[in-house]
Amino acid sequence: MNFAEKAVLMNASEITRAMKRMAHEIIEANKGVDNLVLLGIQRRGVPLARMLAEAIKQVEGQDVPQGALDITFYRDDLSTLGPSPQVSSTEMPFDVNEKIIILVDDVLYTGRTVRAALDVIMDWGRPQAIRLAVLVDRGHRELPVRPDFVGKNVPTSQREIIKVKVEEFDDKLEVVVGEVTE
């Protein structure tokens, strides 16, 4: 399976600007950052959560606690998984009870990852609320999941693939659209 890149949807400065706007929206909706924690979904949600935390700090001057969530053991497609999926670690350096959690992921598609992430969080405790922030919403939901904070809405066909590249794993920051070629 090969991936043929078709176009760049967001470059580094567009992503940074979108993150700043989302940071403002999160602060406004929450009336500040008290009780707020950011939880990135492994793997690319984690660096995005860190970027959001930095943007929030620039506005509010306050550090927001960050965690990482791995959903591998909560997937609903065990029998159709191909190669053994890469398992990453879950890091929950705070008590989730009564917190307002901003769940952060790179792309929102079917909604199944978010469904699994909600189950992981519930196994850690009972937060006051969970909100969803994604860099790209590409549509085609299979579950009743809706994001609260969106970087960019991108209409796609199901043949297409959206890739978010981050410095940590890809040496650059951008969002591209491409297609699978045989």
Binding site: D70, T72, F73, Y74, L78, S79, S84, M92, D123
Partner: protein, 315 residues
Amino acid sequence: MILETKDVLGLEDLSAEEILGVLDVAAHFRAVFDRPVRSVPIMRGRTVVNFFHEPSTRTRISFELAEQRLSADIINFSAATSSFSKGETLRDTAENLAAMKIDMLIVRHSSPGAAQYLAKVLECSVINAGDGAHEHPTQGLLDIMTMRQRLGDMRGKKVTIIGDITHSRVARSNLWGLVKLGAEVTLCGPPTMIPGGLDKLGAKIEYNLEKAVADADVLNVLRIQLERHSSKSFPGNREYHRMYGITEDVVRKLKPDAFVMHPGPMNRDVEIASEVADGPRQVILDQVANGVAVRMALIYLLSGGDPRSLGGSAS
């Protein structure tokens, strides 16, 4: 793909990459134990059967706990309470289980090769939970996991296994796995308890305890299986303890960071002195905790795809 196989029958069959891959996943499961909810839903709706044809407490409970923490459905049966006591053969029992559509069979049996035989006959995955004196792969994996947590990369690390090597499936699984990861393994025990030929698998044989442990990074002390011994091969509890028992005296002469492992159940003051078993150098309860994580990893990885597409034979 971390595991290319339908079954896990022994560490002889696994590559170094597969062993490290399993241990990596096991470490993630270990982290689940520290949460308020100690199970994950990934195996929901799958049925695992624990078939123990030989007495076992630790291994059986560890497997059950692993299955529960993966949210699998579990059936337990042992030889004494099943139709085995009516004379049904192993194959008939297994085929009846298969007809009821189970996803995995965990088998402990006193005959070497029992798990392998069932793996060949059955379409579902089989995990060997100990077959005679042949292999006990999950014990081997949990031992190696415990060593790696303290020693890191096992290449060049010195592991000394002490006890009744002849009757020990734990020793064999340790040996296969450790040699593949590049560790230097020394086997130590009375000459009557070490079979010939193990040097060909890459082990060093040393009958003198003092020499065997002098520069060891870890001692894996095996249980003396009193129930399997004739008077000819076993010198007697007190004599064994004097010659090969791991006492405070032995531990004092170890390298400063070296530690002591035991697969359990212990015969206190036979192969291991009570002061050592309760002392600061042992990691026995860590082994027990790692055992659950390793079993979760194996069950999860073997379930991660359609077994029939993995080259499993049909019944």
